[in-house]
Structure formats: C-alpha cells, structure tokens
Symmetry: D2
Subunit: 277 residues, 4 copies
C-alpha cells in the first residue's frame, strides 16, 4: 500500500528536484508524482505516492527544513479512512456509498450513518452499518448540531459526507469540520444554489442538468468544487423527471469526489480544488 | 423541399387526429410529425413537415377554424431564410457560420455582417459577404441602435444572429426584434451571466464550462435557452485557457441552435423552448 | 397509470390520423404520442400512452382492421413487469438494480436472481430477493441452460436481465427468450466484442471507454443496441482502472435500458432499436 | 516562449530528481513538468517546459550521460512548426484548420495544402494558402505517392495532416513519414474501421458516433490514438444525418489532436499515446 506526501508552499526554483531528492535518499519506490504551480498566487503543489520502507519522520524533517517557510507538508501512511455519512430521506447517494463500502469499491470504512429522519435506518441495517437517528424536530439549528457534534466527536471520523443531507448547516459547524465536510449539491454549481434546484432548472428551461460535489464552507453551496457531471435533458422533462435523471448523476459524482479525497488527491486553494487524478 | 406547419394552442382531446386529418385530405407526403403537451400550462405544440402539392391557404383556414380559439398556426413553405450576423472582434463564431454558409452545411443566406469594430471586415471579404462597420464609439446605446436598425430595416432578415456581439442591447431593441434574435453566451447559463464569464468560471473553480445559445429578451442572458454544451476543464486551466477551450463549444452550439431555428424546430413558451429535433 | 399502445406496420398515408381517431372515439386522455417512419424499409412505428377507461378489445379490433395487413399491435395495460436477473460474480449491476427495485426507482418486480456462482447470494438476501444458485460446473452449456430454463419457466418473467452474467448463451437459449433478454456489455459496441473488453481497450489505447445495453440475439454482442454511454480515460489507466471506471457506466446504462423497456418505449427493427423516450 | 524537453527511457529510481537537477543548475524558469511511468513496460516519460536562457547543448549532454542507456531525449526550442495538409473533397476539417491558422488559434504555419481533387483549391485561395492539385487519376498508388513525396520533400514539413484525405496510403508512405502523419478517422475507433464508417454505424444502430485522431501506421486505422470525441445519435438519424453530425466532431477532434502534437505533448509508445495536457 502507498504512502502519500502532499506539499503546498510558495513556489521557487528547484522544488521538484529537492523534494524528489529527499525521497531518492530513502530509495523508496515512487509510484506517481504530480506537481502544479498556480501562477497567480505563486503557489506550488505536489503529490507523491510511494511504496517501500521509509523513515517518515526524517523525511518530514528534511522537507520542512528545505522548503520555503510556512510550507504545508502532509505525510499520509497507508491507513483506511473512516467516514461518517449524514442523510435525510433520499436513499440513492447513501445506497451507492453503502454498496461501494461493502464491496470495497472504495477503500474506506463507514463508521456510522446519522439521519435527521428515520427513513434510511433500514437500509443501513441491510448493510449492517450503525444508524443514529438524530431528529432536528423542534430544535434550533445550533441545538441540533450540538447533538450531531456529540456523535461526530464519538467517532472522530476522517471525513463527513453529506449524502443528500438536507439541513442547512451553521457557519460554526462548517468551520468546526473545515476540510472534512463533503456535500453533494443537486445542480451544476454555481447555477441553482439553495433549495429545489431541479425546480429552478425546470423553470429556467435549461437543456443540461448536473450535480456538484464540493467541500462545505460557511457560504451555502459556495465551497471549493471537487467534481461535477452533467446529463442532458429536454422540454419533455418535468421538474420531477429532472430530479430522477439527476439522482444517478448525484450519486456517481459524490462517489467520485469521495474517491479522490480518500486517495488524498485533492488540494484546497483559494476556494478551489487542485486534483491530481 | 419540405413545408413546415407549426401549431401551438390550448390542449384538448383529438387535436392530433383532427390536424392530421386536414393534411390527410390533401394527400401530402408527411415526412415527420412531433407533438408535445406542456401539462402545467395545458398547451399543445405540434410540428409537421411534408412534401407534395398542397392548398396551403385552405389548410390554414381549416386549421384555424378547427383548433381552439387563439391557436397559433404557422405554415412555412420551403424558402431559404436570410440572416444578419452581428459581430464585434472575435472571429470564431463568425468563421464557423461563414464556412457553413459557403458550403451550405446550413441552409441559409447571410445577407450581411454588421460589426461595431472593423476587425472582421477582411474575414467577410474572404467569404464575399457584405460587411457593415457601424461603430458605437461616442454614441449612446440608443443612438447606435438607431444606426443598427437602419441596416436591419434595409435587409429585413428572418433572423439576427449575435455571434459574440459584445454590446449590451437595450430592452427596446430586444423587443423590436423579438423572436428573431439569437445570441451565444459564453457560459453554461444560468451560471455566470453578464461580463467575463470565463473569468467568473475560473474564480469559482468549476470543473466544467459551457456555452448557451438563446433567444434574446430584454433581460440580459435570461432569454429562452435553445441549446447548451459543455466541455470539462481542470485546475491547470487559466481563465484564458478556459476561454480558448470554450470558443470551440460556443461556435458549435451557436451553429446547432441556428440549424434548429432555420429548420423551424423551435417553439418558445414561457421563456423556455420546445425543440422538435 | 398509463396504458400503452405500440404499433408497427407498413407505412401509408393517414396512419396517425386513423390511429388517433380510434382513440379519440374512446375519449381517453392521451398523455404522449410518438411516431417514426423508417424510410428505408418504409415501416411506421407509433407509441401512444393514455389514461382513462377504454374498451381495449374494441380498440385492438379497430386497429387491426384499419391498419395495413400484418400490422403488429400491442396493447399493454398498466401492470408491473416481472424480471429475472442472471448474475455471475460482479455485484455492481445487480446492486444498482436491487436498490432501484427496493425503492421503486424503477417500476418492476424482481422475481428472483439466478447466479452461476454463489457470490451474490448474500447481496440478494440483504434485499430479501430469492436467489437460485445454478452452477454450470461440469455441465455442457446446453445442460446448464436446461436447468436455467426450468427456473425461468417457473417464474415466467416478462424480462430476463443479464447483469454481468458472464456465460455465453447458446443460440437456442437466445432464440427461446427472444425479445426478453437484455444484456450489458462492458464496451462501447461494436468495439471490443467478446471477452475482456477492458483489456482490449487498454491494448488499443483508446481515450474513451463505454458500456452498451442490448437485446441478446444468437450472435454474440451483436443484438439490437438499446443504449450506450461513455466515460473518458487516459494513458494513466491500467486495464484494471478502466474496468473500475467502466463499472459505474455499465450499471447506469443497464438501468436506463431497463427503464426504457419497462416503459414499453423500445421497438426492435432490423437489429436496431427505435426509442420513444 | 517555452522550450520543451521530452524524455523517454527505461525507468529507474531518482530520474525526476536527476533530470530536474540538471535544469536547476541552469536556473531556468520551469513552467510545467509532467511525468508518467508505464509499469508494464517499465518505461519512464517526462515532459518539461521552461523559459529563460539555457545552454541547451550542455543540458542535452548531461541528460544523455545521466539517463539510462538508449534514453530518447528531445529538446525542442520555441519554433513554429510547419504543416502540410492533405485533402480530398470535404471542406470541414480543412476549413477549421485554415481559420485557426489565420487567427493563430493554433500556433503553426500551413506551408501548403495538397489535394487529390481540385474542389478545395478555392477555399485555400480564400485563405491565401498555396494549393497543389496532385490527382491520383489513372495512377497506381505508389506512383501517386511519388508525386506527393516530391511535394512533401519540397516543403520538409514538421507534420503532415490528413484532413479527410480519403486515399489509402501504402505502408511505405506511412513508414517514410512515421510519427509525422496525423489522420482523422470518422468513427470512434476501433469501431468501424475502413470505408463508410457512418453507414456502418447506421447499420449497426449505435446510439453514439464519434471521431478519432491518430498517428498513421502501415495498418489501416490502427495507429496510436491521440484523441477521440463522441456525439449521441438516435434512430431518427439516417447515415447521412450521422455524417453531418459527425463532421463537427471530426474537425474539433483533429484540431485538438493537432494542438497537442504542436505543443509537443504527445509521446508514442507501444502503438498508444501518452498525453501530457
């Protein structure tokens, strides 16, 4: 299994040479290297995957000392990531993730599923995945999130996936879990943010609908986009038909985004993502 | 060559039967029929294409008398449509249309091209198409449009294609040419309306860009969408790269929309289009 | 719920008029009509969906007597179709169908699943769907198919879906179930027919892979295509990566094809399909 | 303008480190680096683009001595490539390239166009590009190619683009211009190789058609694929309609492949391509 190194720092000459040099000393077997420089911000990004024994602490130390000040260095040994999934009523995204989990089409562990409704409890049971019903009924958003956070605190997941979780999160919640919250929005952002995007799409008479997986920030549907896909529609589609067609796109996009994040292929920079696929 | 009948009216039982009956009497050779009912507004749309001799006046009369009150009936004998193209500086959409015109890949006549800059005069000359330079320099929008309208009045075109024509039209101009003005907007509407959509797309960090051909209304970029296409992009694309990639989409989408309109396959209804391809 | 009429016959003038006339007499509420004439073979196809009470026997009789000789008329009252799914080891297509069945995203009943391996028995159990293990081990193809046919005979399904069922069927089997057998082939037909299409795709160095859902005929992978979808790949994809990327396409395409067939939107003609979506 | 270095060699540890080290010594401004290892064949590929003064001869020397034996090192200083375009009768691909040439949407020079028919002479004249009519009438293939080669010899182009050039080339011709011959085939290879692919596609009843740009080898339509694109079709498309729809795909794909090759982003390996976009 592969160890991943992710580096982000101010760009300067010779970075690739120096970084690969540090790994070359370790004589690891490098399987893939990707690098990118965002010229506008003069920032350098690199992802390296390798196998073989390696003194990770030494590599971390050498990198930090060699790289420009304030470089971000993340060394990720092979370890399965644990995920919490938040849901409401719709089953399609959760179903997709549960099947991919059961057969390890995606390399992750679903610690549990949390739903603000009970509808999906049985589906979780079918897949022998713990389900926590945390109703928001009668609660202020903040109060409900206290309950959510208790459960999240218990599991300490690496990622929290909002799989058509329909409650609007407070900025505090988004901030608290910054970088770990992945959402699937049922439109091709930035079109149709907010509620009922398929109805909005129908009203606008678009000929294409889509879905967008993104990291959640405190701005509704404004966070860094991870991936997007579309499907053509036409005048014969009611808003409901668009919704049906869109669901298949949503679940595939969410699964794809999750895979990219699980494989540590995603950098966040200036509210956008850099993907090393 | 085909005669086209377009019908739009309030829906009721038996419309297809009655309409086809009127044509059956004429013993024409029907080549294609398409019908659609918009259930929300209870409106019926039909397009029929046929060849063979036909008493068109009689058919019109019978249809009007048979159909619900206020039915819209359009009978379009085979006749090449004449088009005016408005341009600014960018060549790609104009070039696409000029080649398709010269080789009749699209069945239309380009009466002339009007540009608010002179840049594309030579390209028009290469294709022996009249070019009118009508500068907007120093003029109020309305004053410039008076000059445009004089030229348009001279040609009386069936359609006016805005092929990356960058000036914002007044509501009066849009209204005056309602139903005849086709624009290509360099984004996937309704995302990124207005100016510099590729820069907006770059800033948002989308993974897909697109282009939209639409009828122009008095609302900027809000008119009925005819067709849209997309192309994937990624973090390595600068706004300029997105613009380059987008141009090929723009010209293909504009040409496709023009073909649909030239073939009388497009109905406008409630700020959306119904396309019988 | 809708009743569907499917008509295929030799083309002649006035067919749409006459057919819609017969329904108009019944004063049913027609929800959708689609018609198409294949000019090369001079054959007419029509699909009508309607709701409301109707003397179906009378309509059938009137249609048969009115239409050209040897017209095929199928009147399908609203009734949920029953499906048998054949599987081998791969889970992704079966999982997709089982979830869509459980939540009725598709309107059908899974009578049972038959597998020539036991691997997917537990998945069926999770969805409380009967699973029959009918091993082909040590059996000639014909002998194995005798066992399959016994089970199929028991259920008398409307459709048999081969969901990555990997055994090659005899021409007799295909013939016996002609028009009811839907297969998903993991390539973009007619490219890469037969075994290991992803390895073939990898060796050829294609930049796009796909999947094709089709009716099964006695010719391997040569039957009428119902739908196809693609996904881009690149040089970084191993044959295994292509297979992983392809699985999501396969299951979506199979589900889409199944929906079209369940909704009686598919006509077979000259080894091709006509789809009225 | 950028200098490009392309390296292909047997893989071993430390290659990226050593290669970037050689450039680091020169203190050039590296704009992009891409590397890929084909594991099956254990071969390493790298592309580096940079600006700034550089002792290219020294870099070449240091690379050759440092890299594994038989490494292929290509250093390409910024220099516009010259292209010969071969055509027959169809105008769409040629037209696309001529417009992109005139406006330098692609950075290349069209030295001349050679046609085995005269049809496209006027289009070349419109763009002031030399046109050579070299008829194949009454000539054996080899004899015709002698005439072609004379013309090619005269120009010594960097690339020869077959823009819907419909004559079948001899293996000798393909070999003679190996690595320089780019063809656009009007199907989604490997489906429908050879003649009349749209008719083949129509007969097969595919729901998707496409185009493929590839390097030409002595095997008809079997050379390394550079890029492919598709467009959906349906039962209403005649073979002619498919051809019309396909033309827009062909020209865009050809232009895209040409750009990749002009920018030295393409490696050929084992009859496939590695693209560093």
């Amino acid at each position: 299994m592969e160890t991943i190194i992710k580096i982000a720092c101010r760009d300067e000459k010779g970075l690739v040479h120096k970084i690969t040099g540090i790994l070359y000393e370790q004589l690891v077997n490098v399987t893939q290297t990707n690098e990118f420089v965002d010229e506008e911000s003069d920032r350098f990004f690199m992802r390296i995957s390798f196998t073989g024994p390696c003194d990770l602490a030494l590599v971390q130390e050498r990198l930090i000392s060699m790289l420009p000040k304030q470089a971000e260095v993340e060394i990720i040994p092979p370890k399965q990531k644990r995920v919490l999934i938040l849901v409401t009523k719709e089953h399609h995204c959760l179903g997709e993730l549960l099947i991919k989990y059961q057969y390890q089409d995606l390399n992750f562990k679903v610690d549990a599923v949390i739903g603000n409704h009970e509808d999906l409890a049985s589906l979780c049971q079918q897949f022998q995945v713990p389900f926590h019903f945390i109703s928001a009924g009668g609660l202020e958003r903040e109060a409900h999130e206290v309950l959510l956070n208790q459960q999240i605190e218990f599991y300490q997941p690496d990622l929290i996936v909002l799989a058509k979780y329909m409650r609007i999160l407070t900025p505090q919640f988004s901030l608290k879990h910054k970088g770990k919250l992945i959402n699937i929005h049922h439109s091709f952002l930035p079109a149709f943010i907010g509620a009922r995007p398929y109805q909005q799409a129908f009203d606008r008479g678009v000929k294409i609908i889509g879905a967008t997986a993104h990291f959640v920030t405190d701005d509704l549907d404004e966070g860094p986009i991870i991936c997007q896909e579309i499907v053509p529609v036409n005048h014969t589609y009611s808003a409901k038909d668009m919704s049906k067609a869109g669901k298949d796109v949503e679940k595939i996009v969410l699964a794809k985004a999750l895979r990219l994040v699980l494989e540590d292929r995603v950098f966040i920079h200036q509210n956008k993502t850099i993907l090393f696929e």
